[in-house]
Symmetry: C2
Subunit: 330 residues, 2 copies
Amino acid sequence: MTNRQIVLDQIPQGKLTPEHFRLTEGETPSPGEGEVLLRSRYISLDAANRAWMQGATYRSALQGGQVMAGGGLSEVVESNVGHLKPGDLVFADAGWQEYATLPGKHLSKLPDLKPETHLLSVYGIAGLTAYFGLLECGQPKAGDTVVVSAAAGSVGSIVGQIAKIKGCRVVGIAGGEEKGRWLTEELGFDAAVDYKSAEFKRRLREAVPDGIDVYFDNTGGDVFEACLFAMKNHGRIACCGALSQYDGAPPPHGPRGIPGLIVTKRLTLRGFVVMDFAAQNDKALSDLQAWVASGQLKVQEDVIDGLENLPQALIGLLAGENRGKRMVRV
Amino acid sequence: MTNRQIVLDQIPQGKLTPEHFRLTEGETPSPGEGEVLLRSRYISLDAANRAWMQGATYRSALQGGQVMAGGGLSEVVESNVGHLKPGDLVFADAGWQEYATLPGKHLSKLPDLKPETHLLSVYGIAGLTAYFGLLECGQPKAGDTVVVSAAAGSVGSIVGQIAKIKGCRVVGIAGGEEKGRWLTEELGFDAAVDYKSAEFKRRLREAVPDGIDVYFDNTGGDVFEACLFAMKNHGRIACCGALSQYDGAPPPHGPRGIPGLIVTKRLTLRGFVVMDFAAQNDKALSDLQAWVASGQLKVQEDVIDGLENLPQALIGLLAGENRGKRMVRV
């Protein structure tokens, strides 16, 4: 069996392009002791994929020449561990390839939830990130004004809907009028603000006339700065990502108002990674399933076919072309 | 009776100079209904005095032509409220003048603690700021590495000593070798780093080889950025002030690494103002008194004589010439 793979050929210095990747074919590996052989079904596209190319984060920096890293939904083909059998689905850091062997001990069988793509979106990292980031780091109360950036993305679209479920007034920041209409008309956001507008700062202020209680930040940069200046006293900022800063050289400066506004407004900023809350996953999944079942939480997925389309799918995600959770069916 | 006053004649645009102030004499006011007449005994000098000139903070911005604002230890001379009588000491926002009338309802009689200057230092805003900022926002555990900036100042010198009492390893950042020796030899800090050194960043790294668990920030700016990059995963930053940014125009940019490092290191940054914790003042004062009595907490005060010396005392404080709590005896 051949194993089609996408190799990250070179670490980009500026913007990521298709030329940084190369499609290749390797041998399908055999699982050793304690290992499983996995076949990729859906590979998740995430802004963090690009951040891993910039340097060490919560994982080591990627190196040129390696199979591109990425998580996804995989099916167990062969198993040398007792708790997994062929046909089981797992979430695995299997990379951009058809087949991979991995140690079985960190893998666990996913629950039988349908459609299975939801295991990568609302019941996967995106949904859990939205859930824990908003509720644990943001601590929203009913009546609070919650703002989320990259609001039409996989995490942001769920953050806003959970905030609505919790009784908050929700403003989404996204690129373009069309995404804004989708957020307000389909997902129930109270307002949307286009960060690409020349009037962005004024429109943000108009959308939050009394200020922001909770800001869920996916972007960093100018959007972060604008929200920082609009925070209420005792506001909370959940720091989830810095999408605006991944695809290119790191910016030479940070946002103004740090740390002065943190002090005078008595803000709390908290960075998090979803794994930090793994002990609470059961409660989170139970809530998310109930909200999906009741129709309070709508799940938007953006599924692209073909392993060979992974590079363009990531590049497009970084340019903001997706709505909801983007993944590639292998 | 005449009432000598220091008026803030003009709001400074760049560095604060003596020419921004003017000494004048007014009439001593008479207390109205519900008011008290106060005589200033000691006026507190704080970096925040300069921040108030930049714009609204947790109080309205100062205006040119007003008596300079400032808190201090005052004695009640006449009282039209039942809970205060002549001779009582209060902490009051009475401004830079000999006499002031204020509504009595927000004033309370201070406990009879000696020396009375301690009511402005370790048992006043400086001590409580150090206590709550470190323990509530910093959440230090025994064995943690705690770093504090403006470490020889009124707040920083107490922060470092409380951290030692709590079993932490403590590194102070201060300007100059002499202050550093005072911190390590007199106050028991484990190390000191001179931020004015051309080798500052390297020396900071050497002083915290395993990274920083808790950073108590009094300065913002380059020192904040250097500490941010040296934080451990799950570290906490208590944002207390931005001393480096008060005396001049606000900087055009903030520190690098925001919000990226907050996310990847899962940091918590929390801004605070001492009044937020007023409900816990009794416990804090009881701890502080016990530590002073046992000799574990040394109190350094820098008392300057004469109301007319207030402008120069503040300008010198902003230049870092003080050790411990600076105040002017009126």
